[in-house]
Each structure stands twice: as C-alpha cells, then as structure tokens.
Symmetry: C2
Subunit: 332 residues, 2 copies
Amino acid sequence: MFDCVAVVGATGAVGLEFLALLEQRGLPAKKVRLLASARSAGKRIPLKGNELTVEELGPDSFNGVDLAFFSAGGGISKQYAPIAAAAGCVVVDNSSAFRMDPATPLVVPEVNPEDVKAHKGVIANPNCSTIIMVVPVWPLHRANPVKRMVVSTYQAASGAGQAAMNELEQQTRDVLDGKPAQPKLMPFQYAFNLFSHNSDLYENGYNTEEMKMVNETRKMFHTEAINIAATCVRVPVMRAHSESINLEFTNPITPDEVRAILKDAPGVKIVDQRSPQHFPMPIEASGQDDVLVGRIRQDISRNDNRGIEMFIAGDQLRKGAALNGIQIAELL
Amino acid sequence: MFDCVAVVGATGAVGLEFLALLEQRGLPAKKVRLLASARSAGKRIPLKGNELTVEELGPDSFNGVDLAFFSAGGGISKQYAPIAAAAGCVVVDNSSAFRMDPATPLVVPEVNPEDVKAHKGVIANPNCSTIIMVVPVWPLHRANPVKRMVVSTYQAASGAGQAAMNELEQQTRDVLDGKPAQPKLMPFQYAFNLFSHNSDLYENGYNTEEMKMVNETRKMFHTEAINIAATCVRVPVMRAHSESINLEFTNPITPDEVRAILKDAPGVKIVDQRSPQHFPMPIEASGQDDVLVGRIRQDISRNDNRGIEMFIAGDQLRKGAALNGIQIAELL
C-alpha cells in the first residue's frame, strides 16, 4: 500500500489516462496528488467519486509522496525527478530524460521486470513505439533470438499529446469545410496527410523516435546483438500506434510457432483472422491493455525460413505510456 | 496522331484524371470518346472547352477507336479488352486482368519502355503501389542490383476509387459529429483509422495487393532474383500513396550515391531536406507527376553498407494510374 501517489502532468493525455487506470485497477494508494504547471493549478479532476484539485508542481511537492508518475516532458523530469527521489519518492518517468542513463532501469514489465530492483529512485518508462513493439517481440526473441528487425510505424496523434489530438480534429474540420489546415503544434498539415516523425534528426538521418526504438530495445533486451532499422511516421489516426514489423531470427521459425508463442504471451492479443479479414487496427486497440498482433506470415523475401512479418497495434496512451507506468508501480 | 481515343470508365477517379491529363498534356487525338456503364451514360463531362457525353460501353464501342484506356475494373477489361483489340484498337489497361499474362507487356515507361513493342493489342498498366515503388527503385537497381526489399505502404482512399474517397470524407464528418462511422465500400471504419489492404489473401498470408508488388516488379525488371516482402495498409489520406522502403543491394552503396542516381532519374523528385525537416508527404505528392523520394539513409541494421532506407510518396491517380497510361500511349 502506498501512502501517497503523485501524478506529475496530471492534466495531459497520459496523466489523465494514468488516473483512469488508477481508478480502474485500484492501485492501493491512500492518497493521490495531482501536480501540474501553474497554468493548470486549481483545475478539478474527478477520481473515485471525489474531486481532486490540481496543485502547482514545485520543489516541495514530493514531501510524503512515495510514488510519483511523471509525464510532463523531459525538462520537468530532469528538474524534478532528482528532487522527488531525494525526498524518498520512487519516480516512474514517462519522459526520455533518464531512459538511456545506465543507472536508471528502463522497464516493460512483460520484458524485464527484474530490472526494477536496481533502481536508485527513478525507473524509466520506454518510448511508446518501443513498448508496443517489444511486448510481442520479446517472447519471440527468447524462443529464437531476433537478429534484425525492419519496422515502419503508423503513429497516432495521441503520441504528441492531447493538443495534437485537438489539432488533428480541428484541422480535419477545417479541411472538410474547405478552409486551409493550420498547423500549430505539428509542422505540417495533419488532416488527411501523413509525415515523417518530427523529432530531431541524428547525423545518420534517423530521427530521435527511430533511434529510441533501437537503443531502448537493446537496453531492455540486454544485448547489442539485435539490429533494428525503424521508420517513424505520423498518420492521421487519433489514438493507438500501429507498426509493420519484419523480423529476422537466428534459427528457422514458422508462423504457427509464432502464434503458439504469442498465444500465451502476456500483454499480447492475437487478431489474425483471414476470412473474413480481421487484423490489428488502431480503433480496436484504443482503450485496450493488450497489443494486438496479426498478419503473421513467413517472410517470402527470404529463402531460409528465418523471416516473419507481422502487423501490430497498441494503445499509445495506455500500454505505450500510462499502463506500463502503473504496471511498473505494481512491480514495486 | 490518334484518330480516336476512348476512355472506358470515364466517370471514375482514374478516368477523370486521365481526361485532365489528356487536356493538360495535349495527347494528339482528333476525337475522344467517353465510355462507361449504363448508369453513367448520358452524363456530360467538359474537355478542352467542349462537353462530351458519356456513352454506354458495349461490344460495338471500339469501331474506329485506335487507342482505349480502360479503368473500369478487371471484369470489364476481361470482357471488353479482347473485343477492342480485335477491332484494331490498342488497349492500355489499368486493371489487373492482363498484368501477369505472359503475352501482355506490363509497362512503366521509366522502367521498361521497350516492352511496349511486343504488345498484341493490350498493354497493362501496373498496380499503383508497384508503379510508385519501381520509379525510384529501377535506376538504383540498374546501378547496383537490388537483392531484397521490405516495403510497408500507406495507401490513400483514392486507391479504391472516388467512392472510397467520398466514404472517407463522409465517415470523417460523421465521426466528428459524434455519429458512428458507416463503412460501406470499405470493410472497416476508415475515418481516423487504418487497416490492412482489403484485397483477397493468398495461402501464404500475403494479400493480392502485396503479391502484385512482388510479381509485377519481377516481370518489369525481367528478373526473378529480386525478393520483395510487402505489407499494404490503407490509411485515412485522401490521395497519393506513401511507402517505407528498405533495400538490400548486391554491392555496398551510400546515401550520396543513391541521391546522385535519383537526382537525374526520370519521374523522381528528391524531397530530402533535413533542416528544417521536409520529406515526402501525400499532400505534396497529390497532383504531381513525379514520385517524391526522401529519408534516404544508410540502413543501420546492417553492417555491410549494402542497405538503404527511403520514404516515398506518389500520386496514386496520376503516376500510379492515369499518367502512366498516358505515357504508355505516348510511347506508341
């Protein structure tokens, strides 16, 4: 039982999802405190029949708090997570601030729950695209090590927060009304369009989102021997990310073996019905805890039966963020 | 100079695009006849300052016609293309009916223009996803043979015709109004959602659209030695398909070499600006003749420098269908 759980960034899309899950799963906490910027302070948010008032985040916010879930951007995490940890609070951080810090465990409970134990006050939640990918890939990797992956993502507006979801909606209304789309948060028209994920680019031409999928997967799998090439794309979907994944295994593997492994894998739901066709879709993944996996087939571009293709969809706000954080808290 | 050019399926999205291009490029034809089903017969369509009346397609439609562009589905092509050819007309067929027929050339003018010569009355236009892919891949393949490709598509509503574009628009309006989306032509909600391309599945789990990308590419490249694994997905974009392409070459190759080859390649426009980021997008590909190519980078999942990744976008109605047909006619 936690005495007090704090949610930093409580009014954001992930923060609100975290609160909804807290209510739904009944995380044992005597008290919940909502923390956000001065702009959101004073807002009232319903929780378990009560209304909680959002407090302004400050250096004294973590006295008496034993667990804090941070989802307010890397800058806030960098500034306040050490303060919270020093106050004796365990931080589950949804930002990228500490993910690649060697002293900070990066955890997906279905993949590397034991890493939680080594925490020194902060546990990092991986990037949403990474989480959704590793949930089905890890059990396959354990059975037959994955040597190489080629991934293309179809990322929803929710990945950039509530403001991006609002922007997609407003732009779509405008375009349907014959008005020009007005990109604000997003760099380009989002309505009825798609564009390369607008995170910063590395010298090698890959963007930050793509390199997170490489580096975070290697950290959680505890191996540098898995090679990943990712292409991250934002599509005009409201919520839930999809990914087209091409896997190269160490040994031959069949689609039936993949299905047998994934059938019992935690956090995975196979949606792979060929007649009538029914495969993973973001609207069906939305609001779900499980990552949907389908289009499981032998990669016909290889002649050694070491290739598998699949298509997945997972709720970016839920398993891709808030749910994973709750699950980490449950491990504690 | 053609005496008479007929457009079969003149009222469809591709047919109308064909007429727009005919006007724009000034294909030398003394007369243009518009053919469609009984339902569309009598409709009037403007062309070069005149109005043409749509005639009902029938067995006698091709007397005196020397070139016919078919885009009314495989069933119509199977039934009427042989009749047209027997009447002395050259058919450029946009359906899949004859594409893999060994006696029918399958042509993208930037790739295999010389194959046109072998026609016996029918020349097939490849599938739109295939056309858009092969335009940039062919010049690379000529310089350094492509051994294997992994492709994931982001296909627009236009690929399923005007009715699908209308359905995406109507569903989006309904969802924004809080009403349920009503899939009619499409098997699932299309608004703010995506789903696996709803063409029939083969035994191997790949769908028809995906196998077209494999088989049509091999036919046009005149090699069985190119291996392709494709995942085809419909995204809620109105027009222009995008594709994430991972290429494995026979010999080492650098992104700079790829850019140098593509800079002068016909039908290709490099859109690969890293700061500020500007890469291929469907809204910018729409209405354009060229296939936009960007995100050109060395595949970091390989250690032999034989891998390249890129992201492309091309107008499915234009280069993916009508423009390619016009270009074939121009070869004649």
